[in-house]
Amino acid sequence: MRREQLLIRSIQFGLVAILFGAWWFVTHSSQKLMLLLPRPELVWREMQLLWSSGRLWSAATITVTEIVKAYVIAVVAGILVGFLVTRSRNLVRIFEPMLAGMFAIPLTLFFPLFVVFFGIGPDSKVAYAATYSFFPIALNTIAGFSSVDELYLRAVRSMGASSVQQFRYVYLPGALPVTLTGLRIGFFICIASVLGGETLAAAAGVGKSIALSAELMETARLYAWIAFVVLASVMLNLLALAAETRSERE
């Protein structure tokens, strides 16, 4: 089992290494692509520059603040709405299809509206990302609470469980796994929405910097920004995976 794991990991790293090798090879064997695909070492130098000049930090601070604000709003609203809707079967029948239908619409279409309502500053990104990530969280909370088997509730009622105890020992742990999945999906939608929104219309932030570098054809800087986002995403994903395996084990 462990040896197999090792093999899989080395194949995965090997593929990434081949990708980098190809990048290096292509950019060193021909000058034609220089403008669209800068050499790796140029991108690396830009990354160091962004890091040391503090531009990375000022942009990241704005973006991360937006993400955190939007996510907190989405989590609180999504869980609250999801929980309230599951208080009655009829409410679920009314709201679940509506929420699912709204989530199916690409909300990117409405981003310009958010800018009109909330301005070019961080608020429009926060509102947009909070709205978008609200849906998967609310939907999974509904699914989570609906998935709790009525039989368990009947059983603990026969044992004399109070309504608080029914909630604490049956409803909450029963709904948790599906709800957590919603929280994870919502988190990645939140990040994507903030960054996407910034590239479309923003005064500052990581997404804005990426869009600006592209407009100015500063491709090495563009790739440097992207590289930072990729690194951050990989780390977040690993963190999320680790948290999930831990909660599964419990």
């Binding site: 039989l151 368990y152 009947r154 059983a155 603990v156 009622r157 026969s158 044992m159 004399g160 469980a161 109070s162 105890q165 020992y169 049956v170 742990p173 029963g174 948790l176």
Partner: protein, 278 residues
């Protein structure tokens, strides 16, 4: 137990109980129980036997206070039943109701906690009940790590652990294979001979009813009424040898003769319903 019980008064008194489930349309309204009266003595093991859909589980739920009868009353231990009475009656369901997100031991802890027992004694009581069904080595397992038979064994132990005078069992072995249910039936007979609890056991298995019960109450197809009552005068605990005794076969055949018409009626009704739906 609330209220004094003298030896003469029954542990459970079911008095003219009827139950109607009202559907959205008149055709969906079902009379599940029609004027059922039954008295169960303290320490008696009574099986409710009948074709599927005869309302035997409904009657059990009404005794346990999980359902409210449309008419009539149930008195347990001298007090009318108006809802679950966890200190008087324990309920074991057809499917495992061990909460899957807790270990076996935690399930016992919670059952006692819900009942209001929140002191240090819970662990001893839980382990004692688990040892009665020979499951102590699984105390720290999660339900999903156990087989169906093991889970029902533990559900039974949980029902015993809470120390009620009355135990209500709703087809607890129905989801198990025949060999497992035979073994569990033997165990149950052994256990109950020791505890002296009053037991109401719902089943549709003739052999199970004869093997376990002091008295078998046969119910009719819908609407459920009591059709016959048959005593099984054989002392507990019963060994598997009892199943080979001529007495066992006689009672079983007698039951089958009584039930045959009811089973046919049920099958005919199911066919009708299917034709109507199709």
């Amino acid at each position: 137990m609330e209220g004094a019980v003298d030896a003469a008064s029954p542990m459970i008194a079911i008095d003219h109980v009827s139950m109607t489930f009202v559907g959205r349309e008149a055709s969906q309204t079902v009379v599940a129980l029609d004027d059922v009266s039954l008295k169960i003595r303290q320490g008696e093991f009574v099986c409710l036997l009948g074709p599927s859909g005869c309302g035997k589980s409904t009657l059990l739920a009404i005794i346990g206070g999980m359902l409210k009868a449309t008419a009539g009353s149930v008195i347990v231990g001298g007090t009318a039943v108006n809802g679950p009475r966890p200190n008087d009656m324990a309920y074991v369901f057809q499917e495992s109701t061990l909460l899957p997100w807790y270990t076996v031991l935690d399930n016992f802890r919670l059952a006692l906690k819900f009942q209001g027992i929140d002191d240090a004694s819970w662990r001893d009581r839980a382990m004692h009940a688990l040892s009665a069904v020979d499951m102590t080595q699984f105390a720290n397992h999660y339900p999903k790590q156990l087989s169906g038979g093991m889970k029902q064994r533990i559900n039974l132990a949980r029902g015993l652990c809470v120390g009620t005078n009355v135990l209500l069992l709703d087809e607890p072995f129905a989801a198990l294979d025949e060999q497992t249910r035979m073994v569990l039936g033997e165990d149950l007979s052994m256990l109950l001979a020791r505890t002296g609890k009053t037991i109401v056991f719902v089943t549709h298995s003739l052999a199970e009813a004869v093997f376990l019960a002091d008295r078998i109450v046969v119910m009719t197809a819908r609407p459920g009424k009591i059709k016959a009552e048959i005593n099984v005068p054989h002392p507990h605990p019963r060994s598997p040898d009892f199943m080979l005794a001529p007495e066992f076969g006689e009672i079983r055949n007698e039951l089958y003769a009584i039930l045959r018409d009811e089973i046919r009626a049920t099958v005919a009704r199911m066919r009708e319903a299917r034709d109507a739906a199709g």
